[in-house]
Structure formats: structure tokens, C-alpha cells
């Protein structure tokens, strides 16, 4: 009988779960989902790459490239805190699962814009 109040509140309280993926969960504003670079602000100083605990960021100065390895990134937000120009943004949306170890290349303004797609789940043809 002591469980009765919990049972009654559950009966009228509705489900505790969401109908994912039909109804995805709304992330909080502070949720660390993935990191992204605003190329126009980046000056390639390398603060982010030096402080990254997971060695997930690489800067190729000659090619003016900022490379992110999303499979290594632990989304700790250290790079965003270290950036003096606020070029790194932390988005609350999670990256979708991926099969291949890819890299995301951001090219600074001088070079040709090359953005490789990563984090999208590839559709395998049977």
C-alpha cells in the first residue's frame, strides 16, 4: 500500500520517456554537443591545438588549415575557452554516429574552402 501514491502519480503523470527519434530531446543551452570553427575569426595561433587534452586539433600553417578529428574529440570545451578570438563555438547538438574515421578541415579565408563532411551516418548500399 505504501507504493500507492507513486503508482497513482505514475498513472496520471504520462510517460517518462520520449518517442525518439520521432521526438528528439531538446538539448540545454550549455550542452556540449560538438565543436565548430568560425574560419573568419581564426588567426591560426594554435592555442586550441596546444591545450587540447585529446590531441584532436591540428593546425597546418602552410595550407592555412584547421583540422578537427571528431573521433578523438571529447568535447571538453577547453579549445573554446582557450581561444582569444572566440572562433570556436560549442554547439548543443550531438554529432550523429559515423563509421569512418574522418577529419573535418576548415580552411581559413585565404585558401579555397574545403569542408569534408563527417558525422553524417553514411547509407550503405546492399
Amino acid at each position: 500500500m505504501s507504493m500507492l501514491s507513486t503508482v497513482v502519480s505514475n498513472l496520471f503523470g504520462g510517460p517518462a520517456t520520449l518517442m525518439y527519434p520521432v521526438k528528439p530531446r531538446e538539448p540545454h543551452a550549455r550542452t556540449r554537443g560538438q565543436i565548430a570553427l568560425n574560419e573568419s575569426l581564426c588567426d591560426g595561433c594554435g592555442n586550441c591545438a596546444r591545450r587540447c587534452p585529446a590531441v584532436a586539433i591540428e593546425i597546418v600553417k602552410e595550407k592555412k588549415q584547421w583540422i578537427l578529428y571528431p573521433d578523438r574529440c571529447i568535447i571538453c570545451e577547453v579549445c573554446a575557452d582557450a581561444c582569444n578570438r572566440n572562433a570556436i563555438e560549442v554547439l548543443p547538438k550531438w554529432r550523429t554516429p559515423f563509421y569512418k574515421r574522418e577529419q573535418i578541415v576548415f580552411q581559413s579565408k585565404g585558401g579555397k574552402e574545403v569542408k569534408e563532411k563527417a558525422g553524417e551516418c553514411p547509407v550503405e548500399e546492399v
Binding site: S2, S5, H28, R32, R51, E77
Partner: protein
């Protein structure tokens, strides 16, 4: 005398979320001897910490444990701060306390769920985990992540809790407290739970001290010992009294954790009310000096001990971690002999084993 058989319990077992093996010597269904074997989850984190620069180790130490990751990160920062020594701002102390108690709340809810699941009480398991989800949600709202909060930094904390978040946290915590209290009343008064736990896996007051147990496991044997009594962070300002139970059996361990769950929520509410305004982090100057430091912090499972040795560079010369489960495993040698095979699961679970912590 019945013939003796040696039965392996684990490393893969439904009640164990992590790998530990117990070689049980059985006489019919009765356990006469036990030999724990650990070493399935070693990852070499202590050595890896010597190779990294000291600020990067916070995120590595957080990965020692998935449940109390925030406490591991904050304890690492605490021991590194002692190398200077560096005083952290008062608000940071309160924020660390709040996040540590949130970790304790969700850890105890997780354990209570697993314990009742081991007893076959599956609907109660769902109830506990449903309210745990609310605590994880406020952790995500305040820290940015459900599991690896990454809020600690040497010198303080990285994120602040603003007034709106604080208001929401207080509402949720009051709600969780009400629901947890109702469930705890059902759990500790249930006939079947009592039949399965009272007098099972008894560890006396003297044995608990002699075997060096810690945490709720020690307090369930009547020993009033808790690292939070040291008054680190904001615990000195909060009204805190360790919760104990006299029995030393599995039932007492359930009761202590039920009490600590509610106490953790009360501590958070008190800390929110008393939290001062101000900075959240002090900036450390240079590299950690050549010095040694040790710290003791109360984790949900017991005493967490960190030792660090600096050498004047940005790398630590040595980092040593001693986790509570490592101290609690020897008590299984006293608790298990004499019990029935069917009770092994709940007795092993009653020490709240965290094997990834133990082996690092």
C-alpha cells in the same frame, strides 16, 4: 562433508556492471571460501597522467570513473592546488560541493536501482532510475554533460550556476527528494527486501575498522567516519553529520545509502542557499612547484585518496590514486563465507563495487 566445488562468479555476470571475478568455494549451496581476482579493467591512467601536462590530466582523471567523474576531476584539481598551495575562491568551493553532492545523489540512486534489480524488484529499479534521470538532467543543464561534467579546473571551476539555473535546480531537487523519500520508505519496510538482506553479509564494527573499509560500507557497520567531516570545500559551513547504521549487514548498507541520498539533496539545497557571490576560479602561477601533496575526498562509495608529486615542470612526477572499492574488496572475504550462493549477488553489490575506479 559435502564435496567442494569452485564456482566462478564473474567477470561477466548480470549483477556486475563491471568485470571482477570471485572464485567461490562452495559446499552444496553454501559459500565456504572466496578469492577475488581483479585486473580486468586496468588502463594505465596513473602512468598516462605523468606523460601529460598537468591541466590536461583533469579530463583523463574524470575518465577513471563514469559515475563520480566530477569528483575525480575536482579531487585531482584539489591535490594539484595543494602543491603551490593555491586558495580557491569561496564561490568555487560551494560550486564544487554542489556538483559533488549531485554526483552522490545520482550515484546512490543508481546503486539503489541496481540493488533492487539484483533482488528481482524490477519495477522499483525503473522508479529509481526514472528519478535519477532528473538529476542527470540538471547536471547537464549546469555543467554541459550528463556523465563527464568537466567543470573542474586547477584554481576553481569552469562554469557558474546562474540564478535561473539555481531556481530550476532547487525545484527539481525538492521534487526528487519527495519521490526518493516515498520510494525509500517502501524499500526499507518491504518484507521481501528484509528477508533477503537482514543478517546477510555481516561485517562487525571491529572487522570494518581492521579491514580498512570506507564510505557507506564502513558507516553501515556503525563507524562514524566520513571524509566530509574534514570540512574541505564548503562542507565546513554546512550542517553535516555522518549517517550510520548499527547492523553491519546488507540491510544496514541499503538504509545508510537511502539516508545519504536524502542528506545529499539537503546539502545541495543548503549550499544553494548559502552560496556567496564572487569569482569562480583563481589563476595558478607557473608550473606546480617541486612539492608533494595528498588529499582525501569523500566519493559516493567512500574515501578517495590522491597523491601528487611535482618537479617544477608542467608534468607531474607521480600521481597516485586510491579508490574506495579497493579498500572495500577485502571485506568480501569476511562477508561471503557462510552465506548462500543466491545471496552472493546482493552482498557483492552492497559494497557498491566500482571496478573501473579500482583498476584505473
Amino acid at each position: 562433508m559435502a564435496p567442494r566445488t569452485i564456482t566462478p562468479f564473474g567477470p561477466q555476470h548480470p549483477v556486475l556492471p563491471e568485470p571482477i571475478q570471485l572464485k567461490l568455494t562452495l559446499e552444496d549451496e553454501k559459500v565456504v571460501d572466496v578469492l577475488p581476482a581483479i585486473g580486468y579493467g586496468h588502463r594505465g591512467i596513473e602512468k598516462a597522467c605523468e606523460l601529460n601536462e598537468y591541466p590536461k590530466n583533469i579530463y583523463l582523471c574524470e575518465r577513471i570513473c563514469g559515475i563520480c567523474s566530477a569528483i575525480h576531476g575536482m579531487t585531482y584539481c584539489d591535490v594539484v592546488e595543494k602543491l603551490w598551495p593555491l586558495e580557491i575562491p569561496p564561490r568555487a568551493k560551494y560550486l564544487r560541493t554542489i556538483w559533488a553532492e549531485m554526483s552522490r545523489t545520482h550515484s546512490h540512486l543508481l546503486w539503489l536501482g541496481l540493488a533492487v534489480d539484483a533482488l528481482g524488484f524490477e519495477s522499483m529499479f525503473m522508479q529509481y532510475w526514472r528519478i535519477r534521470e532528473k538529476v542527470l538532467d540538471i547536471l547537464e543543464m549546469t555543467a554541459g554533460h550528463r556523465v563527464t561534467q568537466s567543470v573542474a579546473v586547477v584554481g576553481g571551476v569552469r562554469r557558474d550556476i546562474d540564478d535561473d539555473q539555481k531556481k530550476h535546480c532547487i525545484e527539481v531537487l525538492k521534487d526528487v527528494r519527495k519521490e526518493a523519500e516515498a520510494l525509500n520508505n517502501v524499500l526499507v519496510n518491504d518484507y521481501t527486501v528484509k528477508a533477503r538482506t537482514v543478517g546477510k553479509g555481516v561485517l562487525s564494527y571491529d572487522q570494518a575498522i581492521a579491514l580498512g573499509c570506507c564510505g557507506p560500507h564502513l558507516r553501515a557497520s556503525g563507524v562514524k567516519e566520513d571524509c566530509r567531516q574534514l570540512g574541505y570545500w564548503a562542507y565546513g559551513d554546512l550542517s553535516f553529520e555522518p549517517i550510520t547504521a548499527p547492523g553491519g549487514d546488507t540491510y544496514s548498507r541499503v538504509a545508510v545509502r537511502c539516508g545519504e541520498l536524502l542528506q545529499a539533496i539537503d546539502l545541495q539545497l543548503e549550499a544553494f542557499a548559502k552560496m556567496p557571490e564572487g569569482d569562480i576560479a583563481a589563476k595558478p602561477k607557473g608550473s606546480p612547484p617541486a612539492n608533494e601533496a595528498a588529499t582525501r575526498i569523500e566519493q559516493p562509495r567512500g574515501e578517495l585518496f590522491y597523491y601528487a608529486k611535482g618537479n617544477g615542470t608542467r608534468n607531474l612526477e607521480r600521481l597516485r590514486v586510491r579508490t574506495p572499492t579497493y579498500a572495500n574488496i577485502p571485506s568480501l572475504l569476511v562477508m561471503l563465507p557462510g552465506c548462500e550462493m543466491a545471496d552472493v549477488a546482493i552482498i557483492v553489490l552492497s559494497i557498491d563495487p566500482c571496478i573501473s575506479c579500482t583498476e584505473r
